[in-house]
Symmetry: D2
């Protein structure tokens, strides 16, 4: 394992639970699913009585018998991966069954359909449940902290108060929205069985209605065709899916970045929980570094640019040029990165330390300044001819606020800036309620 | 104009009809729409009887009075663009109306809402109609050429025959799918009126139910809020929209690339129509270059990478850090690029020359080879134990096909490869019908 | 101007001094330089006595007579920009001179050479001097603050002390290094005069030794040829130049990001100087936002991804495919962005407010913790068997440091963490000295 | 192996010779080199007589004893990779030697220096020799085919003739230029030994002159320091190196793209050599696909965008923020991709089939048209008032060339377009000679 060059292998997916991902995204997983899709094709021939059900059964059983190793050995001989899968399957079935495997299919009828299928199942069974677990943790955190006052920040400057729950609600809303996009694009992945150039040339020699046959075949895989395909499925379905993955990773990176900054020594409003044994720095033993938040940001920097490959893969000459062959094999890495970032954040957000003393201390720092906004609003509402300028001068020129003409009630509001949190609490609860219901959490 | 550095200005948008785009995307257009959105805010105060309808009317009228020039002069003085717009509006209304302008709003309540509004209207009124015009042209072309046999190509190699209409149908399907995505993401652009950090702090001093007030305000602009906002609208709605734009541009680039290659001297199946006066090359007067197709591909190379900026703009610290301020101002360029590419393709695809002699000549070249596939299928269907290998050897080793055991009917099929077009015609018509109906063309 | 869509035009280059940039990068500048390069070609024919010097003179004078407007009108007629330039020049010279203009050249002999020339001169005359002005300001700042103690930060956490001069020295070193790269890649921009496909086909009919002729022509423009060219100059020279620009912009973005964070309310070690009139926020009149630093970061987000276009433009089919035609026209925008970022930073770094009270206060916060490192080093040096773990436990488990066995001198070192600045002062001065000398500042 | 997700592992580096790469880029290689660099640090302590040479020897020997597996187990316990390496080394040395390991170093003194070292050695020992092998093959091919006439192509259209050697010479020139850039940036990779924040804080407690000490340490590794460092080496040295890698990959992708297009059925001027056993297509047994050229283009699409990560990694807050920790671990993949593309191209270019019949046939097609350029040049040289337009009309309007007034000699030139190859032969030989000498081939 440590002879690998990709850090995904030896470092980041180096834990037992990663198997749930490898089941779909590893080469073993890919090869198994290729065979699985081939078997569904034979099943479709049987469905229309072109071959006997026994043939389909036999082929279906062969899918569990072939190994990645034997496929690679066969490929070495014939230099064609999919044909190697077909040959290996052929060795595990009778001579009656053999000719039915891959009959009428071009390689990418199987490859594209397999990718659609395994990415779909990976999303449904692994990625989306994990994201919803993270969402659940964020909702609990927001609800718990919905009343915890925090100074709001824009430009890195103190603005006006919110609550820490409201801060988290931003990410619940954005993540919820991404989960929906990921669900939609997952459900919209498509397969095909349309032959070498998409016009069902071979199929037209084999079955009566190849367009209907394609639909039936794909239904068996919980997929549907696009309105057209060439040798490959239209690339936009996969692109939308990868866009959903990467933009979800972007939300996680922003959350991590925020938490990372809130852990700055001078701010210290939150802290990653650290195990007793953890070494913070090899030379500065006292450091409490936000390493998990940094890690998620770093994964984003590494994987976000890779979506560009999928945009480039939109361009394939004529009925296909195969310059997407290697590049598309790397798409699974993007899904793996999102999985890793989600898993990491789930753990660290679940045990996030919220330091209420720091929250109060920081709010206190801002006290004198945050009253500027309510002051301006009050003056403007009362018809002050140039409220904004009056208040701005107040601060820039250090005029006393006392000189302003305010009534008792207004003075009280500006005396207690921690009460100036607007609808933070209600909004936080609204967001939590909305996404609990929408995602059925 | 020629003192500009951006080629968009002096070169690519240098034609009268570009005004329909500039109405939304130019700085004049931006400033007008800022004022328009400000006026709708006052209208909302009037809606809830906080101010009189006359006030709202007065403000509404002021939107047509301010100019970009005066706003820029005011900004020079106070160094804040939105406040400059507000000040300029203030100079065109009575002193009773003035305090109502921008009341309770943070700059980005207006800026984000304006961007959502103008991009939405630009899509609905300019971009989508133009794309549908292109789609209509493609559908007509596909229907006209649905029976025109063309050799299908994969890896740049002759594969099996299709029709030229089928070739075009690919792009109808992919473009149709993108138009739908663009419609969806256009409709999903969002606005806000939630104050400096998103918690309605200022609004809570001014109106009873700021969450309802926000909804009403946005309804007047054909918009709705997200479940949460900070100082800015969640960036994912705009990102999805830009993703839709860029992935649409990718489809146009692929179409252009295909046409460009089909115009190669040796292939010559299509040709851009050239005006008599056009200079092909400054030194080679005889050249017929696919300059429009090259242009679209080149625009794609220039603008596709810019979507990365929108992915980076997902990250904004805390309730906002303003490092998206300059970058978001460039988003309109992406829309402009898609507009330009669509317009260019519309023109050139509408007058595309399809050279039937070349189509026949190229198909003829392939004749001997394209029978390999039907041969393999026929043999396999008849139960040949290793049909693929048999046919492969046939070609690699130049064995005579005559040696194979074929019946009369099968011999006829492989004697007329131009008939081996599968379901090209039906599929083409299906695709055209589907998208005509779906897009109501 | 406000009808433009590109923010570069109406917003960011909207100041008189921008003319020094537009001279090279605007369309007017481009067209002038095309004519200028054409005139140098005739000059070369004269150099070798193919034509009379008077002809060259006449052509040289015509370069100041043509306008962008007339070129665009001619282009409208003939649909070829370079031929339009040639035609317009032709109208300003005698019929004897006319045939010598553009003789033997393919368009891109002129276009590529013009781009190399104008980017080179723009770098030498505008960009590099401006960067060196910024560098000079940074050096002065670093020297001024070389003794001002600041807490060093890693992971956003207090680490061990440095000085503010040392903080700035990082950027002097990185910027210096980029200036050198920019100089090198500027000097390495190349031209050509090798004809339609690079093999001097036309030239071989016109001059005896076209390879020598090309060299002489380019020498007149302070340029040289690559070892090979096709219809276009090898794209890597321009790519290296744009890489130098964008990686320089990256250094400026990092400096801005650091300053931006040091201006956070809780840190407040530096502050952008604000004019009295400036509006910080449209609703929060008290805000002091790091808008210039944010602006530079935002420019980087907008322009960094555009370098991808130059990597894509490496690929051009055969002797050229022209899909770099539009995209290369946008390269000037990258140079403009670097110019704008440098200019902005120059201004703001020149008047940067360094708050010594905040620097002290923050250092004081860290006092107890920063002694961990010297403690560990001292223990380790003295042969403590597990110094790192001992000190780490000390802090995690809140053991008293007093329990450790330290001598008097060591106790003094850890009592005054502000003295633990290592070689900050010397290193800062070394960096300043090195780059002063290297860049002749 | 097949449980991996990265195709690099199970698919593309799945051959014995890949070990030469894994030696530097795998996790085993990384860990070995970390230990190796740590041992050179102790060696430097010994160099200055801080410790005995025996200590340095002992540590040096321990580098071969530790395994990746034990380091990962230790890391699991303490959650810090570099400290785990140090601890594992400590278990293989005496208690006198143990405290000297890592003394005064911050983790990234070792990590950054190790990366500089191993990437440098990987370039020098593996990458550059391989690229020079490819260059040698290209030079032989160009020299062999320098007289083989080929039609030159621009816009995918026939332009004027060159030779196939000249076509290849483009890539020799561009690749040569990239090899030089790769050599330069390889040699410019830097190390550091400057402590937690770059100011030699710890080092100042340990050695007299830490700046000199750093130099000596790095000299032992064939490296030098930058003028400044923080916790990390300035990122631009690595960025320049990765830029060199990716822009080299771009040249290889362009070469592959050109060959791929020249293999199109209608063009067929070159062909990848295919083994007898190779399966071209799973359904079309006759296909001869340019799979290796497609593969290189596809690798480029997959890896080119990843350079964006290195541009993003330029930004690290203050003395470091660690968001480059994961991302930098992936840099080796870029080097691996360049290695794979070079290796693939070396093989396929070495056995490239050049089809002279096709070259002639295609040239013949162009015959009538390519005379346009020499015609125009001859007319212009003879003072024709509007030669370009005259010739253009000739072709557009199908006027007979015969009507033009040409002398005997001129008529002969245009009668034999295959002679109109300009300086193709001389230029090809010049390019070959230049790069043979420059790269000492």
């Amino acid at each position: 394992m440590y002879s690998a060059i990709s850090p995904l292998e030896f470092r980041y997916l180096n834990f037992p639970e990663a198997k749930e991902l490898q089941k779909y995204l590893s080469e073993e997983g890919f090869i198994y699913h290729l065979a699985f899709v081939e078997s569904k094709l034979v099943d479709t021939y049987s469905h229309y009585d072109y071959c006997k059900p026994e043939i389909a059964d036999e082929v279906q059983k062969s899918t569990h018998k072939i190994t990645a190793k034997e496929v690679y050995e066969e490929e070495k001989r014939i230099h064609h991966q999919l044909r190697a899968v077909v040959n290996c399957m052929g060795q595990h079935v009778s001579s009656q069954a053999k000719p039915w495997i891959h009959l009428g299919a071009t390689s990418h009828d199987i490859v594209c359909t397999t990718d659609a299928y395994r990415f779909k199942k990976c999303s449904q069974n692994v990625l989306l449940p994990l994201l919803i677990e993270l969402q659940t943790i964020l909702i609990s955190l927001a609800e718990r902290e919905k009343n915890t006052v925090q100074i709001g920040r824009t430009h890195g400057q103190h603005a006006v108060p919110i609550t820490f729950g409201f801060t988290i609600a931003e990410y619940i809303s954005r993540l919820g929205n991404r989960i929906v996009k990921l669900q939609e694009s997952t459900n919209d992945l498509r397969g095909q069985f349309s032959g070498a150039v998409g016009a069902y040339n071979a199929q037209s020699l084999l079955v009566k209605n190849p367009i209907e046959f394609e639909k039936t075949f794909l239904q068996k895989l919980d997929l549907s065709p696009a309105t057209h395909s060439t040798q490959i499925v239209e690339p936009e379905f996969m692109l939308d899916y990868l866009h959903a993955c990467i933009s979800t990773l972007g939300v996680l990176a922003n959350l991590s970045d925020d938490m990372r900054h809130l852990q700055r020594t001078e701010i210290a409003e939150v802290m990653e929980k650290v195990s007793q044994k953890q070494v913070g720095s090899s030379t500065m033993p006292h450091k409490r570094n936000p390493i998990h938040f940094e890690h998620v940001k770093s994964l984003w920097k590494s994987f976000m640019p890779r979506v560009t490959t999928a945009y480039m893969d939109q361009i394939s000459e004529h009925q296909r040029d195969l310059t997407n062959s290697a590049s598309a094999r790397f798409y699974g890495e993007i899904v793996a990165a999102l999985y890793l970032a989600t898993r990491r954040l789930k753990r660290v957000m679940n045990s996030l330390i919220v330091d209420k003393d720091s929250l109060k201390r920081n709010l206190q720092m801002a006290k004198d300044k945050i009253i500027a906004e309510p002051l301006y609003i009050i003056l403007a509402k009362d018809g002050h001819p140039d409220a904004h300028e009056a208040v701005r001068r107040c601060f820039i020129e250090n005029d006393a606020i006392e000189n302003l003409n305010l009534n008792e009630e207004q003075r009280e509001i500006i005396a207690n800036p921690q009460k100036y949190i607007g609808f933070s609490v209600e909004k936080t609860q609204n967001v939590c309620n909305y996404w609990r219901e929408k995602l059925d959490i």
